[in-house]
């Protein structure tokens, strides 16, 4: 069984600072790491492979920094890492990302299952998985909180806002998983040391014959501003407190 798990090499939001005055998002000190839900996607693949045997290919596309992600992902149980890292993909949106991923998946060849995280920690657009499935012409199951494989069928539970849905689909298929699906294991010292000996395939957009307009973002981000919550603590006392409170809430546009 061949499983491809997709991951995004994203900035760690814990390192991102928001300037309170200008609301500028300062990423200068932020480091890259595997987007957290994608760790669950990889763990899901590793558990399938442990149970049913098989190979796990970890796949990512992104800017040049993406090339530095392979040892991390290989230490978490993937057998092989494939990436496309180039400046053209640095500002990729879900459309461009999914097209580049689809081209890479086609080059990797026959697969039984593709696993993506439900969304990435930076944009959380939740589009890459479904778009990729559409481009590859395979069924997609999103919001997966539980999954099992039996023969050629994948059974999954989808955690939706108003309840759970049980679905099944034949393989090959693509699923996008929620963090509820598992607890991603922490790599052991030996897994980390072994990561450097596993195969890594850098694909290029030239190899994949990807024309420039295929990986051009359809949408462009014009600006980003951080959300700043301004908290105040006002204590009202005395007989007129309730009336005063209503006055404040009105002036703030709350009631």
């Amino acid at each position: 069984m061949k499983i491809i798990t997709c991951y995004k090499w994203a900035l760690d939001e814990e390192d991102i600072i928001i300037d309170k005055q200008s609301r500028e998002v300062i990423t200068g000190r932020a480091k890259y790491r595997i987007s957290p839900y994608d760790r669950n996607a990889l763990e899901c693949g590793v558990r399938f492979a442990e149970a049913n045997g098989g190979e796990i290919v970890a796949l990512t596309v992104g800017g040049p920094e993406t090339a530095g992600s392979t040892k991390d992902v290989l230490s978490r149980g993937a057998n092989r890492a494939v990436y496309i890292a180039c400046p053209e993909l640095a500002a990729a949106d879900s459309a461009a990302t999914s097209r580049a991923l689809a081209a890479a998946v086609n080059k990797i060849g026959d697969f039984d299952l593709i696993i993506c995280g439900e969304g990435s920690s930076d944009n959380y657009a939740q589009q890459t998985g479904p778009r990729l499935a559409e481009l590859l012409g395979v069924p997609v199951v999103s919001y997966v909180s539980k999954a099992e494989i039996e023969g050629n069928m994948l059974r999954a539970e989808r955690k939706l806002e108003d309840g759970m849905e049980a679905v099944e689909t034949p393989l090959p298929a693509l699923i996008t998983v929620l963090p509820d699906i598992n607890e991603a294991r922490i790599p052991s010292l030996k897994q980390i040391l072994a990561a450097g000996r596993k195969p890594v395939d850098p694909f290029t957009i030239e190899d994949l014959n990807l024309p420039a307009d295929m990986i051009k973002p359809l949408s462009a981000r014009l600006s980003t501003q951080g959300a700043v919550t301004d908290r105040r603590c006002v204590v009202l006392q005395g007989d007129g407190a309730a009336i005063e409170l209503v006055g404040i809430l009105k002036s703030e546009g709350i009631c």
């Binding site: 040892k71 922490i186 010292l189 980390i192 990561a195």
Partner: protein
């Protein structure tokens, strides 16, 4: 050139241990400190990560980490719980006699046990042999192809949880330190029993017990090095392990400093955060200066070990300075937290209790100063 950079793999290992410390150790420390129960669930996960076998060479299935890396990872663990870091440290301590003097067969025997997930314990101290380790009274008598061990070991870290011990015993008390020999002793040999667990002031997550040996028979090939080399092996082992006590101390200091910085920004008195007072700022600065200095003393001692250069004095200096620093920095942290620092509802007083042992075990800081002075005046 003295290169202080780390490889990508080493950075990933640090990341793994940081994550383990934050997600697995940190949420449990308060409860373990109260109960004093050995945290097998956490230790088993730590064994899965390979953290109990850091110095085990790759040819025996271990990660074969350098001393510098072992120190860095011990510091990370200690930021979460110095008691758990001590459990790991004792495994390293017990491994060094085998690494230093073990034959191929002994290495295989011992490292196989470790790699199968067993803990280990270093049995030197006795009721009447503490700082004066040469006064060991446990006896080893050779009978045919076996040695028979009799005696009592005390204050043994991992004593009640280990699967294998290194035991120091005398074959001839009249020979003093020249009469000592070192042995590998598996826990399941008949005649071994474990005393009650010490009810300790700090590092309560670690297991400390007496170990009793009553006519314990071991094959003669369990002797480490030669007969009479036991004291030398014990001293070489402790020289090599002391920087790890230093590293645990640095982790404690750093955790106390980080908590103090955070708290001093949040706590308001006289209408401003307490960190707005220069008196506190200078305390924080001094804590940082000492912690940083301790860290680099530890790393330098480890570097000397890894480079195959003499390290006895530097190792003693690193252990002494780092543990004295941990005591001072954690005491200052309690001061910065004020009354809350003294309360068991806050994590700070535990750090101060945990710090104290670092000045005592693996040779008290008085004994370290004797060792350092001895080297200076040679």
């Amino acid at each position: 050139m003295y290169d202080m950079s780390l490889t990508e793999e080493e950075n990933l290992m640090i990341q793994s241990v940081k994550e383990f410390t934050q997600t697995t150790i940190a949420p449990a420390v308060k409860e373990i400190d109260i109960s004093g129960e050995f945290p097998w669930d956490i230790v088993n996960k730590l064994i899965d990560l390979g953290l109990h076998a850091m110095p085990v060479p790759a040819e025996y299935g271990g990660p074969g980490l350098s001393s510098v890396m072992s120190a860095i990872l011990a510091e990370e663990l200690a930021k979460g719980c110095p008691g758990i870091a001590t459990t790991v440290g004792a495994n390293g301590l017990t491994s060094y006699p085998i690494l230093l003097t073990g034959t191929e067969a002994q290495k295989k025997l011992y490292f196989d046990l470790l790699m199968s997930g067993k803990l280990a314990a270093f049995c030197l101290t006795e009721p009447n042999a503490g700082s004066d380790a040469g006064a060991v009274a446990t006896t080893a008598v050779k009978e045919g192809g076996e040695y028979v061990l009799n005696g009592q070991k005390t204050f043994i870290t991992n004593g009640g949880v280990a699967g294998v011990y290194t035991v120091f015993a005398t074959q001839d008390k009249s020979k003093g330190i020249k009469g000592l020999s070192a042995f590998i002793v598996e826990r399941d040999r008949p005649g071994i029993s474990v005393g009650k667990e010490e009810n300790k002031m700090g590092i309560r997550a670690s297991n400390t017990t007496d170990v009793f040996l009553e006519n314990v028979r071991i094959p003669a090939d369990h002797l480490l090095g030669k007969e009479g080399e036991g004291f030398k092996i014990a001293m070489q082992t402790l020289d090599k392990a002391r920087p790890i006590v230093g590293a645990i101390s640095v982790g404690l200091s750093q955790a106390a400093l980080d908590a103090s910085i955070k708290y001093s920004k949040e706590r308001q008195q006289f209408g401003k955060p307490i960190c707005a007072n220069q008196a506190l700022q200078f305390m924080l600065a001094d804590m940082a200066i000492q912690t940083e200095a301790a860290r680099w003393l530890v790393h330098r001692a480890c570097y000397l070990i890894d480079a195959g250069l003499p390290y006895g004095k530097e190792s003693a200096i690193a252990k002494t300075f780092a543990s004295d620093t941990a005591m001072k920095v954690t005491t200052d942290a309690v001061q910065i937290f004020g009354g809350y620092g003294y309360s068991r509802d806050y994590p700070i007083e535990k750090m101060m209790r945990d710090a104290k042992i670092m000045q005592i075990f693996e040779g008290t800081n008085q004994v370290q100063r004797m060792v350092i002075a001895g080297q200076l005046l040679r």
